[in-house]
Symmetry: C2
Subunit: 259 residues, 2 copies
Amino acid sequence: MSLKIGVIGAGNLATQLSFALQSAGYEIAQVFSRTERSAQTLGEKLQTKYTNQTSSLTNDADMYIVALSDSALSEVLPNIDFKNRLVVHCSGSLPLTVLRPFSKNTGVLYPLQTFSKSRNISFKNIPVFVESENLANRELLLQMASSISEKVQILDSEKRKSLHISAVLACNFVNHMYTLAAAYLQQNYIEFDVLHPLIRETAQKAIDMPPYRAQTGPAVRFDENIINDHLERLNDFPGLQELYNSISKSIFEFHQKKR
Amino acid sequence: MSLKIGVIGAGNLATQLSFALQSAGYEIAQVFSRTERSAQTLGEKLQTKYTNQTSSLTNDADMYIVALSDSALSEVLPNIDFKNRLVVHCSGSLPLTVLRPFSKNTGVLYPLQTFSKSRNISFKNIPVFVESENLANRELLLQMASSISEKVQILDSEKRKSLHISAVLACNFVNHMYTLAAAYLQQNYIEFDVLHPLIRETAQKAIDMPPYRAQTGPAVRFDENIINDHLERLNDFPGLQELYNSISKSIFEFHQKKR
């Protein structure tokens, strides 16, 4: 538990994961972010050191957790000499092997959740997926993950990528539907919170029964009158009309095939 | 409270609304469905009379609640003589005026929720929207709606339609994203329930903060590497590739504009 961690990144995931690990007794020795203000904000929240210079990165950490966007990762890591300490990334989409050029000891710790800096969240029920080629590193990561979550699994890079794609659908795309609904309601002077019970029930239904069976609405019934009427009314909302059409078609075609 | 109701329709909404009204003390005098088995199933559940013949519809009801799909509605209602009793539909998309040819007393009672026959649900927190041209009918509907829900409002046909469009986005389209995620995971031999915490948190986040601010993932960051990699992997899942592309574009464009 006296493991010292260097956290590389200060975004949504870096913030929430650092809090969780610190609460579980791990020492966050230093925070790095290319953005000085982000480094400072997270460093101060964690009451630990921070830097925005790769040259000032601590040599003293037992492991480094890289919680950067995939594009930032490939820009930042080549500038760091990790001295073969354990380097772990947290990305759903990147394979373990992207870390090979930077250290002999590598791993992945992927928490399957949507994180925001300002929204503190318990990791207890978040599934965390761990990968490492080296048995000792894997054990270390399993132990670390289990200290914050009750749902820890080993998963290889291929399956993690599939999981990540499904998460994009069930989270990012879902949230965009909420966003469009909110924008459309605002345009029509209706408060978004009228949808809260529907949003809750739609999510809960898909947890309690297969989402395929939970589908309702005009598209699955192929109620052309309603669909066409809605399309007409979406004329004044750029982009949404096309999206409404293609998702409705996808719903109809998916359910036709299953029948 | 001794009001006698004839329920026309025996689908998801008819089933759940009948239960709620019966529990609130209303008498469901008869259930009609064109499908004999559906009429029987709901009639027996409610321990009341049922028929699949419009000619056998009771003359004895004080009001008729029409909970049919919009296309069924236009086929069934012309065959019924309502003798100017109060006729109420439950559709988000149809205006009040569609009932004009069938009675002098008309109204709308629209519960904003997703219903399934097999999933009993409390109406207490479901927003219910009421409309009627006649003051007495409106009062009656307000009283009825308030007996099952704490969130009753008067809303005109135009605004109800806007609300319905937003509900299609936030419920039907959202559920289709869950469905596609489940199908994709199944194809990759991963259990869907690993997504449950993510689904819960995504919904709760959009309730606790504006969904626009809750957006995460590769599309909002415009992480082209990930997006292209995902698109490539979706090659073997017909239809999903195109949808992934257009929703990602929509996310990116929406957030670009807002910046």
